[in-house]
Symmetry: C2
Subunit: 431 residues, 2 copies
């Protein structure tokens, strides 16, 4: 199908989706969960095809691993669909309600963005998650996964089509598309039809999308995430957080890449390094770090900006919280950074100064994760500052409109400009 026809079909059905009842959207999500359960065998077969083709064509092992969609991962997607169905619908929710002294009532009401284009590599689970987030938030989705996952994605697309149809929603609500790189570039030029692009994958993919797109893009390029062990930190706690941040899932963007240690804590480096090494982590370090612990290879300036996505960590001894913040803001990727400290003042200093999407105090960087944060999962993580920052869920896929209710109000003869008399902000409420 021609790119413009795909985008036009998405826009055409986006108005119907914007008005779709919550119950109907939830029915499609739960139907999809059923289809994943019932279709497990076919999904595993399609995934096996993709894996066989990837292996025979010499795709890197890391990519092959991300391509794998096994029974456990299917179960996780089923739970994710059920969770998203259980979350409140953001569409129609109102916020910042104020009454002006001239009697006008002003409120902002959440509306879907319209059409969302997702461009991603490998992981077929994105086809489930992204479709679910877009559908529940009332947006039409165009999902363009990598060609290496095409058998699995095609099947998941068919299941989505059947689910939205069975709920009485337009089948173009979730379009899983293939096509050439030129087709993708053609989609990225259609800013009159598509409202948002979310790229997920390697840095090259994301850069290529950001450079070519005429449509707003929300993205993160990399996750160079830090844990800073502050003066006075309880060492067992520091080790647990460092090990969890590095070793639980070294391949994810919020895994720790650099451990910063206050010079007052350098004496604990042998214990910290031993714990990391016991988990199979290779350690690179600055000079002070290498003087404090054995078996640490030298780190170069380059290491401070490197996202290893592997069992490797760089360690740097810093003078204190200010130096840690400076290092993070200079070398980091504004993604996710944590401090381990017993001191509330220095914790606040770290929170205030570190210019990152997610800042944690006494917690593992693993918690930068939509599922952990009660969002069901996430459609992406943003290190941009416009619109959404950090893990993106349902609310981050909405815009709003201002609704002003008067009683014959005109500005000229009868009414003044008016002041907002109710400055107190109300919580967001279901309309």
């Amino acid at each position: 199908v021609e790119p413009r026809a795909i985008a036009k079909a998405a826009q055409d059905c986006s108005r119907r989706l914007a008005a779709a009842e919550t119950e109907r959207k939830n029915r499609a999500l739960l139907d999809m969960a059923e289809r994943l359960r019932d279709g497990r065998k076919a999904i595993l077969e399609a995934n096996a095809c993709d894996l066989a083709e990837a292996e025979s064509s010499g795709v890197p092992a890391g990519l092959v691993a991300r391509l794998r969609f096994d029974g456990k991962k299917i179960d996780a997607r089923i739970r994710c669909l059920q969770k998203i169905a259980s979350l409140p619908d953001p569409v129609g929710r109102s916020f910042r309600r104020t009454q002006l002294s001239n009697g006008l009532n002003v409120v902002r009401v959440r509306v879907p963005l319209g059409v969302i284009l997702m461009i991603y590599e490998a992981r077929p689970h994105v086809t489930v998650n992204a479709g679910a987030f877009c559908l529940k938030s009332g947006n039409a989705a165009i999902l363009r996964g990598g060609s290496e996952a095409r058998h699995c994605n095609r099947l998941l697309g068919e299941l989505w089509g059947a689910s939205v149809h069975s709920a009485g929603l337009p089948t173009d609500a979730i379009q899983v598309v293939g096509g050439s790189h030129e087709d993708v570039n053609a989609l990225l030029a259609l800013d009159e039809l598509i409202d948002l692009v979310i790229p997920r994958g390697g840095k090259e993919l994301i850069q290529a999308v950001a450079e070519r797109s005429r449509i707003p893009v929300i993205k993160h390029y990399a996750g160079v995430c830090h844990v800073y062990v502050d003066r006075g930190a309880e060492i067992d706690r520091a080790i647990q957080i460092a090990v969890d941040s590095k070793c639980l899932m070294p391949e994810v963007c919020n895994a720790m890449e650099t451990l910063l240690v206050s010079k007052d804590m350098a004496g604990h480096l042998p214990a910290i390094c031993a714990a990391l090494k016991a988990c199979g982590v290779r350690i690179l370090g600055c000079e002070r770090g290498r003087a404090a612990a054995e078996g640490v290879a030298p780190a170069t300036e380059r290491d401070w900006e490197t996202e290893y996505l592997d069992n490797v960590v760089s360690i740097r001894v810093v003078d204190g919280v200010e130096a840690a913040c400076e290092h993070i803001n200079r070398y980091g990727s504004h993604h996710t950074d944590a401090i381990v400290t017993p001191d509330a003042t220095r914790a606040q200093r770290f929170v205030d100064r570190v210019d990152s999407a997610v800042v944690l105090v006494n917690a593992s960087t693993m918690f930068c994760d939509g599922e952990s944060l009660g969002m069901g999962a996430e459609i992406g993580i943003s290190t941009d500052k416009l619109h959404a920052r950090g893990p993106m869920g349902l609310e981050e896929l909405t815009s709003y409109k201002l609704v002003i209710q008067g009683d014959g109000h005109v500005m000229g003869p009868r009414f003044g400009a008016g002041e907002a008399t109710d400055e107190r902000r109300e919580a967001e409420t279901t309309a």
Copy 2:
């Protein structure tokens, strides 16, 4: 000064501004208000220079009018500065606070965007407003006004420099810059130093900025705004709202350009047209409209998309609220649209279906205005759906960070992923 040096200076001081105390920012705003009062004579002289040059070089009359910065306008800017000083500081405000069942506390905290580049034509008052909004929201501002206003803008830039300096803030907080078109294009390429671009002016200017910018842009191209007079509307009220929307300030983007009238109300068209004509408005209309009222010239398809910004209105008779919504979504600019109706159901239908930044019920389109909405003024009006929609004030110039507070939390051995136990949304509160 070289564009990169300007942007670098802005970024360098943006971290200090992000941490600036509210009281200090307010002091700079009130100091600027004093300087406008004390410097009134010099400002009027600088403006007179600009006006003389504009007139002698054959600048269009409309542009000359927008260039004028008289005593009344200076007074309005003084009030605007005082109002913005009185508004709550958005920086540091927290929202969406939740406690997860595993004990983690999650909250979003507002932070400045960083560096904002404003590109605008004529109106020197933007130099005051934009500087004030950026400063109060903790952002560094680069203000690039049109060369036709250069004498006045240069002086206002000096006043800003003195005001921020006197409050102990970095003088590069608000940079009023000139330079060639090439310099502007060079600024628009600096996406690693500048966080947001807001263009204001003619459609050509805004398109040129949007096409060239590598930095996110928030904008509106045009304001093709509508008033729809629904079946059963009280005719005096409808006429008042139509006349106010068209005639109070025909040159502004939220002035009505097309009046839609339900076929059931066509009998009132002679009275409506008479009222508009009495205000000097020229009327173009569809066939049904011309059949109902005399002295209406024929409107072409082209008229439905035209932003007159003048004493001209197009009138179309439509079958009802559905047809009105279709017309608005098809021909409008997603800016500001109003319905006049006695019927709450049809009002809600209009609010739901019209895909515009601001939708009004029984009120003039003139109320799409930051001052009227208690925001002090507005730095721009967005018809985009990402980040901000409608009039943009202080809060719209902020981003946020997620702050997660734990007590040694790790995801692996000890704690589960956790559920948000407190789904109730809290109001935004000062941190």
